[in-house]
């Protein structure tokens, strides 16, 4: 059989897709190094907008937003990973229990539900139980929607680990806890790390839900950027965007590499 490469128009289609996907990113990345104050006119290569991000008039606002984003992403992804690990263990090592199918659906439902619906219902939920919107509500919302993203790589990894290893450990005088800590956990680690990285990046990038539940005065990096853009696009936004893009690419690459390394020794 001929590969898909031999279909007519394959090359053109590929180029169109790549351009549509990456041209805007490339433009932003390139113009973040623009020396001029205009966002369309090229004024030579310069790092002035990167300097502006850290020292310019908006530096304080962006600094606070970045701090919020990072701490929320760190706490939410860590907690979500712990919950997702426990869920994966129950689903895959817990044998057959009532409501197993339902649990699986529940864990993964947030991936299917439109984000705007989650955003609205989360906001309604918080106001119903009387929680004032702010840092805590963002954190709780992020923690929740990060769980399925952390769950998927962890569950995929755990499914590939045969039960024999834990049995061998138990057979060799390990208690249940020791078999988990010394055998299963290290074997699951690549899945857990890539689940954590994925959850971290999802939290860091989230805009819609955050925007709904953040409350007045509280900003994360995406909402701060959006607020700033509403006043008109300045080149410093391109610098921030490029920085965030860099962090995302770094994390996703790390997740991919860790997963691939793990696959060699199941």
């Amino acid at each position: 059989m001929k590969g898909v490469r031999h279909y007519p128009g394959f090359l053109a289609m590929t180029i169109i897709c790549l351009v549509v996907l990456y041209a805007p990113l490339a433009v932003v990345a390139v113009y973040s190094f623009n020396g001029s104050t205009s966002i369309t006119q090229w004024g030579g290569v310069s790092l002035r907008w990167y300097g502006d991000v850290f020292t310019g008039p908006e530096a304080g606002r962006f600094g606070q937003a970045a701090w919020n984003s990072l701490t929320i992403a760190l706490i939410a992804s860590t907690a979500a990973t712990a919950i997702a690990t426990a869920a994966a263990l129950a689903m895959i090592r817990g044998g057959v229990f009532r409501g197993r199918q339902a649990s699986f659906a529940l864990i993964n439902l947030p991936l299917m539900v439109p984000e705007i619906v989650i955003a609205v219902s989360t906001l309604i939920f918080f106001s119903t139980i009387g929680l004032t919107t702010g840092y805590l509500t963002i954190l709780l919302a992020h923690l929740t929607f990060c769980i399925p993203f952390a769950y998927l790589p962890i569950a995929a990894r755990l499914e590939g680990i045969e039960g024999h290893y834990e049995q061998a450990a138990r057979d060799l005088y390990a208690t249940r806890a020791q078999a988990f800590r010394l055998i299963l956990l290290p074997l699951m680690m690549p899945g857990i790390v890539s689940g954590w990285l994925l959850a971290f990046i999802i939290s860091l990038d989230d805009f819609i839900i955050t925007n709904f539940v953040k409350g007045a005065g509280m900003e994360t990096l995406p909402t701060a950027i959006f607020g700033s853009v509403k006043q008109g696009i300045k080149p410093n936004i391109m610098a921030i965007s490029t920085l965030m893009l860099g962090v995302s690419v770094l994390f996703v690459t790390a997740a991919y590499l860790i997963n691939r390394k793990g696959q060699k020794t199941p």
């Binding site: 045969e162 450990a169 057979d171």
Partner: protein, 351 residues
């Protein structure tokens, strides 16, 4: 003396599936005991019950006299060599071998020394710092063996440990395993579906089929004196003939062969009527002084042996073996020959 492992009327059910029906077995200390049977007969299930990975539905399993039903796997002085080895992929060979000792609380220096000696014993000292996936199948098998032996279990369970190896290596490992068992004095319970493996290594063999133990005995017992059709058919080659029993008493029966000739032979049944007669192919000779007459179909060359395929009067296929010696000339296809049953060739079976 109390048995090393005593299985008393053990039943194992998975929902509506019964994997083991009232199994009774008593395995002595220092014995090389083999569970032999076709795929799905319940060998692994029985082993897992002894190791503690399956609970016993009914009946009990005793280890040196102690009922171990409530004992977690890590509390049992029993180690397992798993069918696919299950070496810990994130640990080096020596760490794998030392794992059991570590869990038992043996200090680092002692366990390193002991693990090293175990690796020596399986000729893998040079591989101590490799990862398991950098070893061949045969080497992994030895590591699994060293790992299971290092904590000095009282009973070692081996679940078809040789099945993944090629023939040459398998034959070499049989000898090594047997030697190891004699040197260590540990009770081995060995699972296989390969009868040659079972016959060459075991002190005693339990032949299993469909969740039942059919017969327990030495290799000679089960080969020479199978109690029923399954065992006679499963162990070695045999010819099964349905015959009329003229008289049966005191373990001896007089039966009527096809063609009318009568012989007396040992009997595993006491009931008269029609039963199966097992006739081992290597105990039949071509002779004018015939118990059976047959027509030669073809002669198959097997190296040390010749297999002669014949048909009895009435068309029943039958086979016999002749040594491939210089002085024998094999019969021609189509020839009519007389078959003489030597002493101990025939045995009447229960169903």
């Amino acid at each position: 003396m109390t048995a090393a492992v005593d299985i008393h009327e053990a039943v194992k059910r998975y929902g509506s599936v019964t994997a083991l029906h009232r199994v009774d077995l008593s395995i002595s200390d220092n014995e090389f005991f083999t569970l032999l049977g076709p795929s799905g007969c319940g060998k692994t299930t029985l082993l897992r019950m002894i190791a503690g990975f399956e609970d016993v539905t009914e009946g009990e399993v005793r280890l040196f006299g102690e009922n171990i039903a409530r004992l977690e796997p890590n509390r049992r002085p029993v180690n397992t060599v798993f069918q696919h080895y299950a070496l810990f992929p994130h640990m080096t060979v020596i760490e794998n071998v030392a794992f059991g000792l570590k869990m038992k609380g043996v200090d680092a220096a002692t366990r390193r020394g002991r693990a090293g000696r175990m690796l020596d014993m399986v000729h893998l000292s040079a591989f101590a710092d490799r990862m398991p996936d950098q070893l061949s199948g045969g080497q992994q098998q030895r590591v699994a063996l060293a790992r299971a032996l290092a904590p000095e279990p009282k009973v070692l369970l081996l679940d078809e440990p040789l099945s993944a190896l090629d023939l040459k290596l398998r034959q070499a490992m049989r000898v090594e395993l047997k030697q190891l068992q004699q040197d260590t004095g540990i009770t081995f319970i060995f699972v296989t579906h390969d009868q040659e493996e079972a016959l060459t290594m075991s002190d005693r063999i339990a032949v299993m089929s469909e969740g039942r133990v059919q017969q327990v005995g030495t290799a000679r017992d089960i080969y020479e004196a199978p109690v029923n059709r399954f065992v006679a058919d499963f162990i070695g080659e045999t010819n099964l003939l349905e015959v009329d029993v003229a008289r049966v008493e005191g373990g001896t029966a007089e039966v009527v062969l096809p063609g009318g000739h009568r012989i007396t032979c040992p009997s595993a049944t006491t009931a008269p009527g029609r039963h199966h007669l097992s006739i081992r192919p290597e105990r039949i000779s071509l002779s004018a002084e015939a118990d059976l007459t047959a027509t030669v179909d073809r002669v198959v060359y097997l190296g040390t042996d010749l297999q002669v395929m014949v048909r009895l009067e009435g068309g029943t296929p039958f086979s016999l073996r002749m040594q491939n010696a210089a002085r024998v000339s094999p019969p021609e296809p189509g020839a009519t020959v007389g078959l003489h049953l030597e002493e101990g060739a025939a045995r009447l079976l229960a169903d």
